[in-house]
Structure formats: structure tokens, C-alpha cells
Symmetry: C2
Subunit: 335 residues, 2 copies
């Protein structure tokens, strides 16, 4: 299946940044060649370690991602950074300011940074992110840091695309018990309490330990004694993984190297216990389902008369039909 | 199409809270009768004003939602409250604490409060929320407040289900310019700067005005003079709507009645300019698309041999095939 974009692939695989940037743009723009490009690149993927980084606004996670990228470069690894902003319709908008801090890395061919935003089609962002991960993977980047703004569905989507998920918290973001949601326990492989030089960092650590069931809720003036009595984070005897809680001050680089080492330890844990291929299977299943959903809807709409969908929407608004019955009728008509 | 659940409907329409709670539980659990229940209820919907409330953790939006619900009760309106937590897999988990504050309203038949969480199927949450909105609408609740935790995709989904979207901000959540994302401008019909008794509230208002293009960026010691020179919020001469920025202190009730009046003004604006039916059409189109996507995928999976999908996922993980080609093959096989 020859396509204008196919000529990009040898250059991309040979390390051309221009071909890389053009391929990513083609995917973001949803050009007609995009699926063919991705099909051609796919055999070259599967080598990168994908690390999702998520957390609420104000936790300093962009700075932490930058510091982690530098730590990986210092350790001799190539790094791709994808900054995903599901709240901004402007590519590179709000996040561009953060990326300015990366200027000192700009001349380094071992790092590639890309901001992604919604460009109108919000539902497509998660899929585009998965596609750009594949492109950076094929281009040979060894570690891919995927940063997302906000809490909610977006962070769950990132977790489904990552091997390792880092949840960033910070002291003083209002009521910690409210800010740190139960859902993050489901997705976090590691916690970073960033801005750990601020007041309340120990309390944030304690809240996370409480959520992990490791520390009792503090009552009155009694203080839980963190330390020797707690199980050690990392691989457990039963084969599970207890997420470590690491203090960082990303602006000074404090704790960043320790965090990087813990990320590597998590990758080793996954690889040792077949967890890696299970996460790969989950990633593949998620991506396949997304593609199928989009294709199926596109096929259905193509099979319907041009204004049939609009007529149905009008009928729903007028309460002449309900959405479930409308869906059944459209499905029957399109067959 | 008779179903066990159908007997709930007359009771629900007659105002039975028990039937209402059972219907919502049936929908959340995804029982087989759920679509039939929703079809039967649909002709009774379309009367409620749906108000989405969103914002970052720590803005106090749960407290503000509670205060708004009380203000609506004081104004003689019945109110449904749906608290959606996309980050928690536990129904009523993290949000239950907030709901405790509503105890003084618990005996009031004019209010109904429901917390919703993911229960495993994350993608289904937005659809379940839309369904519960329909149920409360059919049950006669005049105003439906839909609160969501977090920023990101979830708030965009809520905006697609609401007539009026309120974005809650608060001073002191780290760097405001970072915390207040460009994307909220796209969805906000009103802004509340809650916790307005805290230091920095005026700065938060100013940042929002800057984002609206109403105030110049402050430079040095020059202060922008907010007030007379600015266009008034609300309906504009060109038919557009300029979102008002309202200061509130929800814990004391300050500014809540003014906020409620602005919400009503937005509804009147929508109704006067055909905006209401345009939002209804957008809501109907979104819901129809969601149902179609789910049904199409379910039909496809039913048409495939049992382990075909698992085989394909394994082949993708082994890089024997790419996800796009895999999707095409599955689509062809199922026809």
C-alpha cells in the first residue's frame, strides 16, 4: 500500500528528527495515510519502556518530568516526552510554557519532546497519544514519559497505555484526603510527593500510606511512627508490587535519581514476573478496541442515508423516540 | 416489551423515591432491562435544566453544589444532585464524606442525591451519568446538578450532557495560570471563584478576565482597573454569552444566591435564542453516538469466534500484526 507518507519511514528509523516530527504531525492531523504509516512502523515497536506521569494541577509534575528526562539522559538512555493536555484545545498551549524549561536539552538528539492537545476531537486524543507512543518507540527512544494534566478519565487512559504509572502529589493542595482520590491507588505503580520541601509533605506521605493500609489514621496527638514496622515497598513475597512513596523537589533535582531508579526497578519487576507481557496485552487490547469502535461507527454512518442521523437526533429531541430505540433502528437500517 | 423493571415506572413517575433509587441502581448495574426502562421513561424527559459543575480538587465544589441545592430549594425548585467521581472505583467512596454535609436536606422529598463511581467499566460512566440524568428528569426534578471531580476529559463529557456548565476555581491552587486551563474557556458558561475570602481571590478573577481577553496582563506595579471599562457579562449584542465570574464562599453561603440567579439567567438566554434546543440536539447526538458505539462493538464481538479477539491481541503483542490491520481483519471476518 504505497502512500506519500511511506517515504518518511526509512528516514524515521534511521534517526531523522524531521521525519519523526512529520510523522507525528501526520498522525495528529489524522491524514489518510496515518493508519498505513502506523502499520508499517508497528513491527519496529515494543522495545520502549512507557512511563505515564499524572497528577492534579499544581503538583509540579511538568518540572518533575523534565528532571526525570535529564536523569535518564545522564544515565545514557534516550527519552521521548509526550505532554498531553486534555483540557486545552490548543496544541502546545498551556504546556508550552513548561517546555520552555527544557531549552537546555533542545540540542540533544537523545531527547524528543512533543506537546499534544485535543484539536477539536476530544475522544481521539487518547488514541493519538497511543499512536505517538508507537512512533517514538519505533524511532528507538528507550524511555517514553507520557505526562497528562489533571485527574480523572485521562489518567486512567494513560495508565492503560503505560507499563509504569507514576502519580504525582504535592503537599498543601487543599484537603489531601479529598485531593488524593481512591482511584489513584488502582493505577499508581509509584507515588512521588513533589515539592517535598514544603510544609505538610510528611502528612501527604502519611495520607498515602493510610490509603495503602500501611499507617493508622492519626488520632489526636498520636503520631504514627513511619519506618521499621512498615512492609518495604517494591516486590512482595506474594508476587504483588507495593508502590513506593518518594519525596522529590523537582526544581532542585532532589530525589529524582532515586525516583528514576525505582522506575527501573518496577520495569525489572514486570519483566521478571511476566507482568510486562500482561501489560503489553492490555495495551494492545485497549488500542484494538478503540480502533474497532471508530471504524464501526464510520462504517455505519457511511451505510446510512446522509441526513438519517440528523433526522434521528431531531426525533430524540422532540421525544418522538428514545436514544436506545433510535440506535436499534439505525443498526437495523444499516445492515 | 414487558420486563420485571417496567413495574417501577408508574411508581417512579408518581414520585416514589424507592422506585427512583431502584431504577438508578438497575441502570448503574447494567441490568438487561435498563434500555427498556430508559425507553419507557424517555417521553417524560426534557423538562429539567441540567447544570454541570466541574473544577479541580480543592476548589470546594462539593460544598458549593450543596449550597446551590439549598438555594434552589429555598427558591421552591426541586433538585437532583449527581456526584460523579471518575477517579474512584468505589460507588459513593470519596464523595460520600461530602454528602454527609447534606444530612440536613435528607428528609426533604424535593431533593435527591446520588453519588456515582466507575464500578470497573470506566468508559461506561459518562453514559450511565446521561442515563441517570434522564431518570431524574422523568421523575420531575426541575434542576439537576451534575458534579464531577477533576479536570480533563470528564469535565468535557459533563459539558456535553449539561445545558449550563459552571467551572469552579479557587485562589491559591498553585500557579493559577497553570491551574486554569485554556480548555475551560471552551466549556464554561459561568465561573465561580470559590473560597473568595482567601488571599489571591482577586488575582484568580483577574487571570480569568485575562483569559477572556477582558483585562491586560499585569506588568510590574501597574494594576488593571477592573470595572467600568469592561463589557458586562451575560448576553452580548452579537447574540453570544460572556460568562460571568462570581465570587463565592460556599461554606458561609456568600454569593450563592447571586450564582443561582446567574444560572437561571443563562437558562433564559438559551431559551430566548434557540440555544436550548441546540444544546438538546448536541446532548441527543452525543448519547446516540455512545449507544451506537457500544452496540456496534457488542454486535461485532458476538459475530466473532470466541477466542478470535484474544488471538489477535496476542498477535499484536508479538508484533506479527499491527492494530490497524488487525481491526480491518476482524471487521472483514465478522461481516
Amino acid at each position: 500500500m504505497p502512500s506519500p507518507g511511506a517515504s518518511l519511514i526509512p528516514d524515521l528509523l534511521a534517526g531523522s528528527r524531521r521525519a519523526l516530527a512529520q510523522t507525528i504531525s501526520a498522525i495528529e492531523d489524522g491524514v489518510v495515510e496515518a493508519p498505513a504509516l502506523l502499520s508499517a512502523l508497528y513491527p519496529h515497536t515494543g522495545r520502549a519502556h512507557v512511563i505515564g506521569v499524572t497528577g492534579a494541577p499544581g503538583t509540579g509534575k511538568s518540572t518533575l518530568v523534565n528532571a526525570l528526562a535529564k536523569a535518564y539522559r545522564a544515565a545514557g538512555k534516550t527519552v521521548g516526552v509526550i505532554a498531553v493536555d486534555p483540557t486545552s484545545p490548543f496544541s502546545g498551549g498551556a504546556l508550552l510554557g513548561d517546555r520552555v524549561r527544557m531549552r537546555d536539552l533542545a540540542g540533544d538528539p537523545g531527547i524528543f519532546i512533543r506537546s499534544m492537545a485535543t484539536r477539536g476531537s476530544l475522544g481521539g486524543l487518547a488514541r493519538a497519544t497511543a499512536d505517538v507512543i508507537s512512533v517514538l518507540d519505533a524511532a528507538g527512544f528507550e524511555r517514553i514519559l507520557v505526562e497528562t494534566v489533571g485527574v480523572g478519565q485521562a489518567e486512567v487512559d494513560i495508565a492503560s497505555a503505560a507499563h509504569t504509572t507514576l502519580v504525582v502529589e504535592a503537599p498543601g493542595l487543599g484537603d489531601e484526603v479529598q485531593a488524593i482520590k481512591a482511584g489513584v491507588l488502582e493505577i499508581a505503580d509509584l507515588f512521588a510527593v513533589n515539592k517535598a520541601d514544603r510544609e505538610g509533605a510528611d502528612r501527604t506521605v502519611l495520607v498515602l500510606q493510610m490509603m495503602q493500609g500501611l499507617a493508622p489514621a492519626p488520632t489526636g496527638h498520636h503520631r504514627a511512627t513511619a519506618g521499621s514496622a512498615l512492609p518495604q515497598p517494591g516486590p512482595q513475597e506474594d508476587g504483588s508490587w507495593l508502590p513506593p512513596i518518594l519525596k522529590t523537589v523537582a526544581t532542585r533535582g532532589d530525589g529524582v535519581e532515586a525516583l528514576r531508579e525505582w522506575i527501573e526497578r518496577h520495569a525489572a519487576y514486570l519483566r521478571a514476573l511476566d507482568g510486562w507481557s500482561r501489560r503489553e496485552a492490555a495495551r494492545a487490547a485497549t488500542e484494538l478496541e478503540r480502533i474497532l469502535r471508530d471504524r464501526l461507527l464510520a462504517h455505519l454512518l457511511a451505510a446510512l442515508p446522509a441526513d438519517r442521523l440528523a433526522q434521528m437526533v431531531t426525533a430524540i429531541v422532540r421525544r418522538e423516540i428514545d436514544p436506545y430505540t433510535a440506535a436499534e433502528q439505525l443498526l437495523t437500517q444499516a445492515v
